[in-house]
Each structure stands twice: as structure tokens, then as C-alpha cells.
Point group: C2
Chain length 91, copies 2
């Protein structure tokens, strides 16, 4: 699990390319390449923009690390709910 | 990265063994076995208890999924800070 957490952190760090936040382009690349299978509409530029605005708590037009963790938490929640449902269905 | 998020979710689900939260024993096992290299004092029962109380926002004596995600976010932040420091040091 430690490597999983490191992967989540490393993905942000490498996508941000030395900066503190992801701009629209780097955020779009990240979700397209890394989260395309568990998120909807990652190929749509307008959807990704909306997603980004939803995460951008401090309204600086970028996705900072905390805002990125919000997305990861949201995805973890979605996956957790679907897992629990599957478990209930098969138990 | 998708598998990393799934690992984080799956670890909670398997540790909780069908329940919605981790009790003290299952939380201790999880941090000892899965996070011993990136967290301090995971072998100390009293430290793990303190850690658990720190996470237990709703004071039910257990660690729910949101509370677990708080821990993951906290660890991700620590790793991110040390990564940024390393980058700054080597650049």
C-alpha cells in the first residue's frame, strides 16, 4: 500500500513538472492518461474544465496538491461504494 | 494510478472484513503491515491508539472510510513535502 500512496503523490509531482499546481493542460493529460478508466468524460475538454473548476477551491485556475487529493478521495469513495455494493450483492 | 487508488480502497475493505469501520485491532494490523515503513511507531499499541483517536472525527471508537482517507491524505502530504524538498535539494 505504501507504493500505492507514493504512486498517487508521484503522479502529481511528475505532472506538475516542478510547479506547485497543475494547470489545465497538465490536469487534462493526467486525468486522460491515468484516470480514463475510472472517470467519465476525460476526453472531453469541457468536462475536464468543469471538473477542474469543481476542485479549484481557492479559485486560482489551477489544481493544487490538496485539490488533487480531493479528487483522489472522491474516486476512492466511488470505488468503495461500488465495491460495497458488489459485496452485498454476492454475499 | 487507477490500481493505486483501488489498492487504497481494497486495503480498507479487506481490513474491515465486511464491516463499515476498522476497530482498534484491525486498524493496528493495517498500519503495522501496510504502513510500517512510512509511519513512525506503528509497533507501539499506545501510539496507534493515539493515532486512531486523532483520526476518529465522529468519536465512535473506530476508523471509518472517510477517517481512513484522512490518514492517507496525511501520509500523501508528508511524502509530497519530502519529495519537494528532495527535488529542491537536487535541482
Amino acid at each position: 500500500m505504501e507504493s500505492a500512496i507514493k504512486t498517487v503523490v508521484g503522479q502529481f509531482v511528475s505532472s506538475a513538472r516542478g510547479k506547485e499546481s497543475l494547470n489545465k493542460d497538465s490536469f487534462q493529460k493526467l486525468v486522460q492518461r491515468q484516470l480514463g478508466n475510472i472517470m467519465a468524460d476525460t476526453d472531453s475538454s469541457s468536462s475536464v474544465k468543469e471538473m477542474m473548476q469543481g476542485l479549484d477551491e481557492n479559485h486560482d485556475g489551477k489544481v493544487g496538491f490538496q485539490e488533487y487529493l480531493t479528487l483522489i478521495g472522491y474516486l476512492a469513495n466511488s470505488l468503495s461504494e461500488s465495491k460495497t455494493k458488489t459485496q452485498t450483492a454476492t454475499n
